[in-house]
Amino acid sequence: MAQVVLKEINKFYESVHAVKDVNLTIRDKEFMVFVGPSGCGKTTTLRMVAGLEAISSGNILIGEQIVNDLPPMDRDIAMVFQNYALYPHMSVFDNMAFGLKMRKFAKAEIKQRVQKAADILGIEQLLGRKPRQLSGGQRQRVALGRAIVRHPQVFLFDEPLSNLDAKLRVQMRVELKKLHERLGTTAIYVTHDQVEAMTLGDRVVVMKDGWVQQVGQPLELYNAPANKFVAGFIGSPAMNFAVVEVKESAGELWVESSGLRIKVPDRNAAGLGPHAGRQVTVGIRPEDLRIAGSEDPAVNCFDAVVEVVEQLGSEILLDVSVGPGTMVAAVEPTLKTRLHEKLRLAADPDRMHFFDIESEIAI
């Protein structure tokens, strides 16, 4: 087991700059998740750690060793692929044993390790089968088993759950988490699903256009997104954004747009002060909006008209229009409402986010 360090990593494909100046330290035993939309460079970064892609510039260290020019076979890593990449002509046992055979382990040792891994994953009875005789979930387990028999220094996961159906995905997510707690191997996990990132990661790296946007524990990303992209990417349903103007009146700061007028909470006032008279983006998560009650101060409230009602059972998502724009609010499931009804919504003053309109960096 080892830490993985990425120093000033860049990747160019001819004219495309796919990964830009990535600096990261993945600590020993840490479960690090790379998340971002497709084409953000997360998979390329993972493949550079694996040795499947050459590094254009920078250094990658696994443990204390620079592995830039080391072929994948010598990096002592294991990888689980999105399509599982099970060798179709080999039985499950042989699939799991292949890496050990390549490393010239003794037969008895191979057998014992495969048995143990199969035991952990509950696939003992499948060892004699061929991959095509397995269900999606079983294939997934075999792919995991193939990785863990190796006892590698680092596990790499490339969207391993995205080929499973929704229910199985949740189940495997939990198992992965347990497995990591049990084995404690350093893991790098790539996904485009922010829920997987939030639930699995000890820390999460958010990437976009080849840049690292933010690195942090899941709750840090949720509570204090570094920029508008992270704010919008983390959390479901996505954060509402509105362009507003910062106005100063009678020593108080307000943000205003047509249909929306909210007092800037005290904790944000210092940051927003220099922006007075200019536009900023305000971000409010749907779950931080509620139907205004008597206890809500009027300065946090605004009017909205219901456009769509999405009843989810545990909550209701209201698509509302606020002035010319729209927002989503997650409200109590007991609320009775009709289309085109006019409502008064209140925003949680402690959970409002402000972003510079040009740089999109959090204020």
Binding site: M1, P71, D74, D76, R103, K104, F105, R150, H151, P152, Q153
Partner: protein, 307 residues
């Protein structure tokens, strides 16, 4: 786990390292192919050009004569006959092979009992060595003992024997028939594979839209089949243009050069008479024509595929 880590640090032999580099590995993998194709295609090709500009004969190195061999060809009436024969032979057989092959493919595209067997048997003319099956045809076209003549006589279609291989035009017809017979299976099976990639939903949708069978073929099947058809035709045209075996066995180019093709004429001059350089010149004369056919067809295929 420390043990495992140690296991992986064991150094690999340096040769394996070299082959980890994609470029080295690719070079090693391509080496045997490059050597064989270089020695027995590229080099003979150069050698052929060199031969064609000398007056070499078997056993005599020969002197440089420039384009003398080609000039001689240009004044050789047999050569013009050969060009005409080859073009006629290629054009007629290709048209018939395509039409009959397509028809057979459409028949085979239905589901019926024993389809696998029918398909397997139908390919026999294509896999049985051409020279051997052509002998069966030659025997069937025998001037005295022709079973075809016998059958047609019994059916009162003819009242005197047809001298299939003795008359120039009939001989050409004969080799055309044999070539079609041998080529139809190739067309049929390739086109059948193409037909099977066309979703039956399309035809059913068109039928629901009110298209009659012929319209369905013309508006749905044919356009979707066109790319495969073009490639099949390309291969067939090249093979037919350069054909040797059927003519060599059936007529040897006769009677009176009526069925000589490029390859048989080149063989007759180059090997039969020992005029190596002239034979090489005739073979080489095929090259620009074939090259043109390939380029035109490839361009057309590309256009069809883009559409």
């Amino acid at each position: 786990m420390a043990i495992i880590a140690a296991g992986t640090v064991v150094g690999a032999p340096p040769r394996r390292r070299l082959l980890e580099d994609e470029r080295w590995l690719a070079m090693m993998l391509l080496l045997p192919t490059a050597v064989l194709l270089g020695l027995f295609i590229a080099y003979p090709f150069m050698r052929g050009i060199v031969l064609a500009v000398t007056d070499a004969r078997v056993g005599i190195a020969g002197e440089f004569v420039g384009l003398g061999n080609f000039e001689r060809l240009a004044s050789d009436p047999i050569f013009y006959q050969v060009v005409w024969n080859t073009v006629l032979y290629t054009a007629v057989t290709t048209v018939f092979k395509l039409a009959l092959g397509l028809w057979l493919a459409l028949l085979l595209n239905r589901s019926f009992r024993g389809k696998a067997y029918v398909r397997a048997f139908i390919l026999l003319p294509f896999i049985i060595p051409t020279v051997l099956s052509t002998f069966a045809w030659k025997w069937m076209f025998d001037p005295t003992f022709s079973v075809l003549n016998w059958t047609m006589y019994q059916l009162s279609i003819i009242n005197r024997p047809i001298n299939w291989l003795g008359d120039g035009d009939l001989a050409m017809l004969s080799i055309i028939i044999v070539n079609i017979w041998r080529g139809v299976p190739f067309f049929a099976i390739s086109l059948l594979a193409g037909l099977q990639t066309i979703s039956p939903d399309l035809n059913e949708a068109a039928a629901i839209d009110g298209a009659k069978p012929l319209q369905r073929f013309w508006y749905i099947t044919w356009p979707l089949l066109l790319p495969v058809t073009m490639v099949v035709v390309l291969f067939s045209v090249i093979q037919t243009f350069a054909d040797f075996q059927i003519v060599y066995v059936m007529t040897g180019g006769g009677p009176a050069n009526a069925t000589h093709l490029f390859a048989t004429y080149a063989y007759q001059l180059g090997v039969g008479t020992g005029l190596l350089s002239q034979g090489a010149a005739i073979s080489l004369a095929m090259f620009p024509i074939l090259f043109l056919i390939v380029v035109v067809q490839l361009l057309y295929i590309r256009r069809v595929e883009i559409r």
